[in-house]
């Protein structure tokens, strides 16, 4: 009887702890910051890690490891499209070698790559890494002994305390105060598809042009590589050898890279008897253009990444003698769909760079899935709005003083276009969009809120927000008013 009661209590305790752990896990997932990329400073580690675990087992042939020089420069979707070879980028912000080593170990539990490509940029940047980089690199990975060891490394090299070790194991201890910042994105995380169509690549579309740069400088100083980095390289080369994987050392384009550094990498590669590929001396062959392809000369933008990825894809086939991967029908379809999605993303990014009214209208009208929301601010008289005319809106022509205009285009078709006095409002439950146009007298405001977030520029005249239904995000916010020949942003 007594024993039965004891067992009962024990069962209750186990169930209690089980439920508690589930609750803590759910709260942790809710509170952990989500990193989806597409914005500077927000590299897509969440998508990258979740996406990796979501890939079909043993379907990846090439693994790219390294810092932002990899995840901003290499686009596996383009490589697949070009060569049929599947690859994935496992890269995090300023990724040190001990993280690359951990990623490699973790990746080999799920994939059997034929080639591992390791960018060596961070062998010279010291062993230490910031807390934010360490957390981002480790937070979304599954629990494992390798992860425990990586946490130990991250704490050791940051001089952090044991308490932080506990918070790496239970991230809720680190992020609990984020409850005040929770948004719908955090809640939607539970329902989103974890498939990452960019396969670890983090797309950016900005272009920063620099006047004075010294690419691949002739500086011959050979910086030192720490013992810790060397031991990580030893281990990675060893792991690859044991698993019959070819490891290649590379350096993707970077303005900080020097010939001295390159020499150190070549010597290292020779000592391990592995190949070192220096991409900085091949910029012309790759076809990179300084005026269009660089985000900041340390990273490539999507145009540059596409060129480099095509170049690498050809290398894989022609020089590395790799054959296209044999995938199941469903995986093949998925990779093709990913390519379409990438093309779509590219289009949207392209849209942001357009100032010509006609070109803008053409993209909107000739591609499905764009919603265009138009609101006006203040009192003005505008008789010839070329953009609205091109978009096929009819009764916009004359907005008199005290009147407001509101228009909505869906898949190239005008569904709302009306002029009202004072305030003009529209609500779309599909995208949770709330539109409001106000004349000067009624409040003088142009507002387009999606999911509660304001996107309209709120300039006098027409304010236009373009929402991409396929990407489920706002891709552009522009304004256009009297006297303007081109689009304003």
């Amino acid at each position: 009887m007594k024993n039965k009661m004891k067992v009962n209590k024990l069962v209750r305790v186990v169930i209690f702890i089980g439920i508690l752990l589930i609750m803590v896990q759910a709260i942790t997932l809710l509170l952990k910051p989500k990193w989806y990329g597409q914005e500077l400073g927000h590299e897509a580690v969440t998508s990258m890690v979740d996406g990796f675990y979501n890939e079909t087992k043993n379907s990846i042939d090439v693994l790219f490891l390294g810092s932002s020089n990899v995840f901003r420069d290499i686009n596996p979707t383009v490589i697949y499209n070009e060569s049929g070879i599947t690859s994935y980028v496992l890269g995090s912000a300023s990724q040190r070698m001990w993280i690359s080593k951990y990623y490699l170990k973790e990746a080999l539990k799920y994939q059997t790559p034929k080639v591992v490509v390791l960018d060596l940029y961070t062998i010279f940047t010291g062993d230490l890494n910031g807390e934010s980089e360490n957390r981002k690199a480790l937070d979304y990975h599954k629990f494992s002994f390798e992860k425990l060891s990586a946490i130990k490394d991250s704490i050791y090299y940051d001089g952090e305390t044991n308490e932080n070790y506990i918070s790496y194991l239970f991230p809720v201890l680190r992020y609990h105060s984020r409850w005040q910042e929770l948004s719908s994105e955090d809640f939607r995380y539970f329902l989103t598809d974890k498939h990452h169509y960019l396969k670890g690549y983090d797309i950016v579309n900005s272009i920063e042009q620099q006047e004075n740069y010294d690419f691949f400088s002739t500086e011959t100083h050979e910086p030192e590589v720490s013992q810790w980095v060397l031991s990580c390289l030893d281990e990675m080369v060893d792991i690859c050898m044991q698993n019959n994987i070819e490891i290649k050392f590379v350096k993707f384009p970077n303005v900080h890279w020097t010939q001295g550094m390159s020499k150190v990498c070549q010597d290292l590669a020779n000592s391990y008897n592995v190949e070192f590929i220096e991409y900085n001396e091949n910029l012309n062959t790759i076809g990179l253009d300084f005026s269009t392809d660089f985000m900041d000369f340390v990273h490539l933008n999507y145009s540059g990444a596409e060129k480099l990825s095509k170049f690498v894809a050809n290398q894989m086939v022609e020089q590395w003698n790799m054959k296209p991967t044999i995938l199941s029908q469903s995986d093949q379809t998925r990779w093709q769909e990913d390519m379409i999605e990438y093309e779509r993303m590219k289009n949207s990014y392209h849209l942001v760079g357009i100032t010509d009214v006609e070109e803008y209208a053409n993209i909107i009208l000739n591609n499905d899935g764009y919603d265009v929301y138009i609101v006006t601010k203040g009192s003005f008289v505008m008789e010839n709005n070329k953009l609205l005319e091109l978009l096929g809106l009819d009764n916009y022509q004359i907005v008199h003083s005290g009147e407001t205009y509101l228009g909505v285009i869906k898949n190239g078709q005008c569904i709302v276009s009306e002029i009202k006095e004072g305030t003009n409002e529209y609500y779309s439950s599909e995208n949770r969009a709330v539109l409001q146009s106000q004349s000067y007298e009624a409040g003088d405001c142009a507002s387009i809120k999606i999911d509660g977030k304001e996107y309209a520029k709120n300039y006098g005249g027409y304010n236009i927000v373009t929402y991409d239904n396929q990407l489920s995000k706002v891709v552009d916010s522009i304004f256009f008013n009297d006297g303007m020949e081109t689009i304003g942003r």
Binding site: I27, G41, G130, S132, I166, R174, W179
Partner: protein, 484 residues
């Protein structure tokens, strides 16, 4: 190592497993070892002082018991008292004394860089009480120095009390304790509620209070009043929260220690407040100071003098500063005025046709007592007298009620959401205490239906985990990648 840290919780889990696995006559030695490790985790240099006090008071008590001559016994207890008081005095009050000498005689006196061993006020009073108990014959002197050392250093209470009594604690520390599911559960619930009070309420309120008190000159009366009210909640939830955590930790091991708080803010008079606030100290002062001074047996004037002495000493015990002395003095005066005004107050109630036994009258008394206590806390929290006076002046003369309504209150480290959580948490504790004291509530929770019990436990665990103030705090800006 504080109770609310992950470090303590993990260590305690190991301590508990070993403790219950031992189940033999050496179980208490494990507790002694753990207590010393816990104490030295604060600062290893505190240990020699603890050992010194333990050995001296143990020796004196043993001699007292063996000695048959009353005079020698008296001499021993007096020497023990002198030792304890001087020990506390040297470490805690030397610099206070020197700064006053310096101010009175207008001379430069060097401040001494003295170490202040943590928990010194608690364990000194505990050992002093023990000496007096042995002298009076209320308890037998402990012959085993290690057992006595455990009584002095017992880890749940050495840092912040409660001040233990030998007759309650020593016997329990000698007993072998086997794992008791219900006691463990009761202890866990008590601990969780204490942690909730400390991390969700006290530490959150502290953010606001610290900010306002640091720059009190620039804020209006309403903000200062709100701050003083929040401090009233902070000090209670901080101290009582810690005491409940200590009680919970001890309960989990099967050892019951003194309940230090009995819903003090529900007191209908200051006298009652002191029966409910920091019970282990107020009962200590009553038993070892107030009654030996003559208590209320020697006439009204002497009673009042005794009261003032006790409260001044209580004030000084809390800290070496004139603000604490004044705080104690205010509470002493409250009681004296309370006694003198009792009949007048009854007359006023009579004139207003308020029944003296009615709930309405009781509520008026509770609210009045709360605000009187709140007023005195201003001195307790202020760094010096002029700061306390400045705050009170501003509360009375610079009343700026709009600052409570125009969003100004959210500029002192607590956002509107934080304020909402703080208010909600205070309401939770208020509603619980409205029913009964936390200790009894814990028992009720443990014996309630499993669904209610689990729901309550999950509520407190998740609330502490998410809304507790601990760790570095997340700042999105620090997580933005900006290197390369």
């Amino acid at each position: 190592m504080q109770f609310q840290t992950a470090e303590f919780l993990l260590t305690f889990a190991v301590v508990l497993v070993v403790y219950f696995l031992m189940r033999n006559r050496y179980q208490w030695l494990w507790l002694l070892l753990v207590s010393y490790i816990f104490y030295l985790s604060w600062n290893i240099s505190y240990i020699p002082f603890l050992i010194m006090t333990t050995l001296i008071t143990w020796g004196i008590a043993l001699c007292m018991e063996k000695c048959r001559q009353v005079n020698v016994k008296k001499l021993l207890v007096i020497s023990g008292c002198i030792y304890s008081i001087s020990y506390l005095g040297i470490f805690k009050y030397t610099n206070f004394l020197l700064s006053n000498v310096s101010a009175i005689f207008d001379i430069q006196v060097l401040k001494l860089d003295l170490l202040l061993p943590i928990g010194i006020s608690f364990y000194t009073f505990q050992t002093l009480g023990y000496l007096i108990d042995v002298y009076r014959g209320d308890v037998k002197a402990e012959k085993n120095v290690f057992r006595y050392a455990l009584f002095v250093s017992y880890f749940p209470q050495i840092v912040s009390g409660p001040i233990g009594r030998a007759k309650d604690l020593c016997k329990q520390l000698k007993t072998i304790h086997t794992f008791d599911y219900d006691k463990f559960l009761k202890g866990s619930v008590t601990f969780l509620i204490g942690m909730f009070m400390k991390l969700v309420i006290a530490d959150r309120a502290a953010i606001f209070v610290n900010e306002v008190y640091a720059h009190y000159e620039i804020y209006g009366g309403s903000i200062l009043l709100l701050s003083s009210l929040l401090y009233t909640m902070q000090i209670y939830c901080d101290f009582a929260g810690y005491s409940y955590m200590a009680l919970g930790v001890s309960r989990m091991m099967g050892i019951e220690i003194i309940h230090n708080f009995e819903r003090p803010y529900f007191s209908a008079s200051i006298k009652e407040f002191w029966r409910r606030w920091h019970i282990s100290l107020s009962s200590w002062l009553k038993d070892y100071l107030y009654i030996p001074l003559g208590g209320s047996r020697k006439g009204s004037i002497r009673t009042n003098i005794n009261l003032m002495i006790v409260f001044f000493i209580s004030g000084l015990w809390h800290g070496a500063n004139w603000t604490f002395l004044i705080w104690g003095g205010i509470h002493g005066l409250y009681q004296i005025i309370g006694k003198f005004s009792e009949k007048t107050r009854e007359k006023i109630y009579g004139l207003l046709h308020i029944d003296l036994n009615s709930q309405f009258r009781k509520n008026i008394s509770i609210i009045t007592t709360f605000f009187l206590v709140n007023f005195a806390w201003i001195f307790f929290r202020a760094e010096n007298i002029s700061m306390a006076v400045g705050i009170i002046k501003k509360i009375i003369f610079c009343w700026e009620p709009w600052s409570l309504l125009d969003g100004t209150v959210f500029n002192f480290g607590l956002s509107a959401k934080d304020m909402f959580i703080l208010l909600l948490a205070i309401i939770v504790i208020y509603l619980m205490e409205k029913m009964s004291n936390i200790s009894t509530i814990s028992e009720k929770i443990v014996t309630s239906h499993i669904v209610i019990r689990w729901a309550v436990l999950y509520f407190f665990i998740i609330s502490i985990l998410v809304f507790g103030i601990y760790g570095e705090g997340y700042s999105a800006a620090n997580f933005i990648y900006s290197q390369f």
